[in-house]
Amino acid sequence: MKKIPLCILLFIAASGSNCDLPVFNAEARVPTAGSRQVEIYAKQFSWTIRYAGVDNVLGGSSYKLITEKNPLGLDSADVTGYDDIIVTDTFFLPVDEEAEISLHSRDVIHSAYLPHFRAQMNVVPGMTTKFSLRPEKTTKEMRTNQNNPAFDYMLLCNKICGARHYEMKMKVVVGTREEFSHWLKRHETFIKVHPPQQPNGTEGDGSEQK
């Protein structure tokens, strides 16, 4: 009689551990090669998104390199970061493409919560956390399906982070590959915004920042 709950439990545990969900299955969670590299950067009280650019490699960064013009602390000595694109208004993802998202925090623990995608991951200062996401429906499709022309995907903060935790948000948009490229082109790459020069105009290796 007492064995019945145990058997039911073992069945639930076993069938759950057999599942193919990438997030739950250690083998399947290795991201697809070539998946789009994106960084979600969290700070009190806003989100910043960094796209890896043409080389699909996110440039190195360090909190010691943070300045007003370089809010993510990208290392100007690392050429892979030159084509990175930093965006503060919208998180745009192309539909049907896997994005591998790296998460960094500037100050305290935050949590990137995307409820419509059933995705969430803590953003912890001092380490990199990751999750992968493959959007299946564009924002337009959702607006039609939900019968709500004002629908938008959202990125929320879901770990208490201070006074304005409740309004730390970013709009998320899912569109076609073309719409995405078109949108991305309107933003400048890191090297354009932050050329590796000393403020007095002479060329420098850019590694000495305050």
Binding site: A13, F24, R29, Y113, R118
Partner: protein, 614 residues
């Protein structure tokens, strides 16, 4: 000192000869007792239990008022309330609107007070002190002095926590879980300054209190049981309080180490929890640490803590249900095994609070498994309560209603735990109102219901009088209905993605049509809070003017009902009772009366029920 010698000779005599020292005369005092030594710095377990109870009731009122303040803000964000200005003052409740930093301070201190002061100090502190010496047949705890210290450290920690509310920059506000770096850096939020320091001081005192109490309870249960009181003749209340004390002694020191490292990071420049931080316009020096270390240390206590809270409530429920159903508790041995299993398993599930910290999913699945396992002994207990009620001769006292209600909330809150235990499902509901609903129903409401069952049932032992029954019924129904009314709708908010610790939900259009649910919740909260006034009046009035009780008002079997109806130092004037049977001989087949106290010897040929009632 005379008192110490008296206490020492007590223990000595008791462990050697149980009935040979009648001349010790415990109702007249060998040592001179003043008002201070009798009622204030008392070393008598009965007085100490009352002190714990009254302090916990006051702290619960403070925490509940806080919850009404923040529920008003959640239901009607930005609206002006004179009540908010009255409670919070002009700085934090300017124009009757709650300040966002103050909101976070309220939820933090509400959680801290409820989890620690009310449900640990108020449950364990009150009932372990009241029931352990009584129900095992001892004159007092092993060390009356340490016991007294345990209460005074508890009071000290409560007072410091309340003082922290008046700090200029605000009380601790990083959630009751106080994760660093938010709780380590005053630049991150104002409450992480002096308010957080006082929180840490208060909690250090609280941990001392818990450890002193817990050690006492363990030693007393093991060493001071009266003749014939085998471990398998102990009431389940004692088993529950005993295992709870063991859990506390093993886990509170880890919380202390966790807090100590945080104190170091805050004040001495260390980097246990801090690395790679840029805040306040400059990078911090600390490198190499990790906030995840804090989470591990915190939850290593945090999870056993919730069982430290619920086990005493379950133990009290076993007693109240059995007495008021006039039936032995079903599955006495299984109940003991379940308590032990819950105690053991509670140490290997803590990672389920950390599924989303970037943990390897395989490790996550290990914690999923252990967390699902712990549901089994919990379910065994729930089944056993229900089976005990089945075909019982049920006496519907207010205590019984609260005990039965605990079975209801323990089950409904417990099943959402199964959902949260699954690390895949947790992704979408972690840190949302689904979690708030779960832990309030399974732990908050259930433990409070158990505590109230205990207060109503043992009021005659606490205060020699009865509480008013009709007020008890009114209090019960308001509490039970409003508890579900407040917390059940929160499941839907959580599934819809509403996060915890949000000052308001107005920043997200997707939550607009859920605002009515918040209004409903707040109304239930207000009515529920007002309903507690009935209890408060009943409790304090009956203490002095309630109808006097007889010695054994419920015809119960356990030893506390064999003591005189006057507070007797040493509990039994004359010899200690001798125990011959287990405590659950209710409606024993073939017996004339429907109860047989533990002190009644077995007749020739009669078997002890505990021998084969598994």
């Amino acid at each position: 000192m005379a008192t110490d010698m008296h206490a020492h000779s007590e223990l000595h005599a008791q462990t050697l000869e149980h009935d040979a020292h009648v001349h010790h005369g415990h109702d007249d005092h060998d040592h001179h007792e003043t008002f201070i030594s009798k009622y204030v710095f008392s070393m008598d377990h009965k007085t100490i239990s009352r002190q714990f109870l009254v302090t916990a009731v006051i702290m619960a009122c403070i925490a509940m008022i806080m919850s009404i303040v923040f529920r008003l803000q959640l239901a009607w964000p930005g609206e002006k309330f004179a009540f908010i200005n009255a409670i919070m003052g002009d700085k934090w409740g300017k124009d009757g609107v709650l300040d966002p930093n103050a909101y976070l301070a309220l939820v933090t201190i509400h959680g801290t007070i409820m989890v620690f002061m009310v449900l640990t100090g108020g449950l364990s502190g009150t009932f372990a002190n009241l029931l352990i010496p009584y129900q095992i047949g001892a004159r007092d705890m092993a060390s009356g002095f340490l016991n007294m210290l345990s209460y005074w450290f508890f009071l000290l920690s409560s007072v410091i926590m309340v003082i922290s509310l008046f700090i200029q920059d605000g009380a601790a506000s990083a959630g009751w879980t106080i994760y660093p770096p938010l709780s380590a850096l005053p630049e991150a939020m104002p409450g992480s300054g002096a308010g957080m320091t006082l929180w840490l001081v208060s909690m250090s005192a609280f941990i001392v209190s818990s450890l002193l109490g817990g050690l006492n309870y363990i030693i007393t249960v093991l060493n001071m049981r009266t003749k014939g009181m085998k471990m398998t003749r102990l009431p389940l209340t004692i088993w529950a309080l005993f295992v709870t004390a063991i859990l506390g002694v093993l886990s509170f020191p880890v919380l202390f180490s966790c807090a100590l490292l945080l104190i170091f990071d805050r004040s001495f420049g260390t980097s246990f929890y801090l690395s790679d931080i840029y805040i306040g316009g400059h990078p911090l020096d600390q490198t190499g640490g990790s906030p995840i270390l804090f989470e591990h240390l915190f939850w290593f206590l945090g999870h056993p803590e919730v069982y430290i809270i619920i086990l005493p409530a379950l133990g009290l429920t076993s007693e109240v249900i059995s007495v008021n159903a006039r039936k032995p508790i079903f599955g006495y041995r299984a109940m003991i095994t379940s308590i032990l299993a819950i105690g053991f398993l509670s140490f290997i599930v803590w990672g389920h609070h950390m599924f989303l910290t970037g943990m390897n999913p395989f490790l996550g699945s290990v914690f999923v498994f252990t967390t699902l396992l712990i549901a089994i002994p919990s379910a065994v207990k729930a089944f056993n309560y229900i089976t005990t009620l089945w075909k019982g001769n049920i006496q519907f006292t207010p205590a019984m209603l609260f005990a039965i209600a605990l079975v209801s909330t323990f089950i409904s809150g417990g099943v959402t735990g199964i959902i949260l235990a699954d690390s895949a499902l947790d992704i979408n509901i972690h840190d949302t109102y689904f979690v708030v609903a779960h832990f309030h129903i399974v732990m908050g409401v259930s433990a409070i219901l158990g505590m109230l069952a205990g207060v109503y049932h043992w009021f005659p032992k606490l205060f020699l009088r009865h509480m008013n029954k009709n007020m008890g019924y009114i209090h019960f129904w308001i509490t039970f209905i409003c508890a579900y009314g407040v917390f059940f709708p929160m499941h839907f908010l959580g599934l819809a993605g509403v996060p915890r610790r949000y000052y308001q939900n107005t920043a997200f259009p997707m939550f607009d049509n859920l605002q009515d649910i918040n209004v409903l919740i707040t109304w239930f909260a207000i009515i529920g809070a007002l309903g507690q006034l009935v209890f408060l009046f009943n409790f304090f009035y009956s203490m002095f003017r309630g109808p006097k009780s007889v010695q054994n008002p419920y015809n119960a079997n356990t030893l506390e009902w064999t003591t005189p109806m006057a507070h007797t130092h040493g509990n039994w004037p004359g010899a200690l009772p001798e125990v011959h049977r287990w405590p659950y001989d209710y409606s024993k087949p073939g017996e004339e009366k429907d109860f047989i106290p533990q002190t009644v010897p077995l007749r020739a040929g009669e078997e002890d029920g505990g021998a084969h009632h598994a």
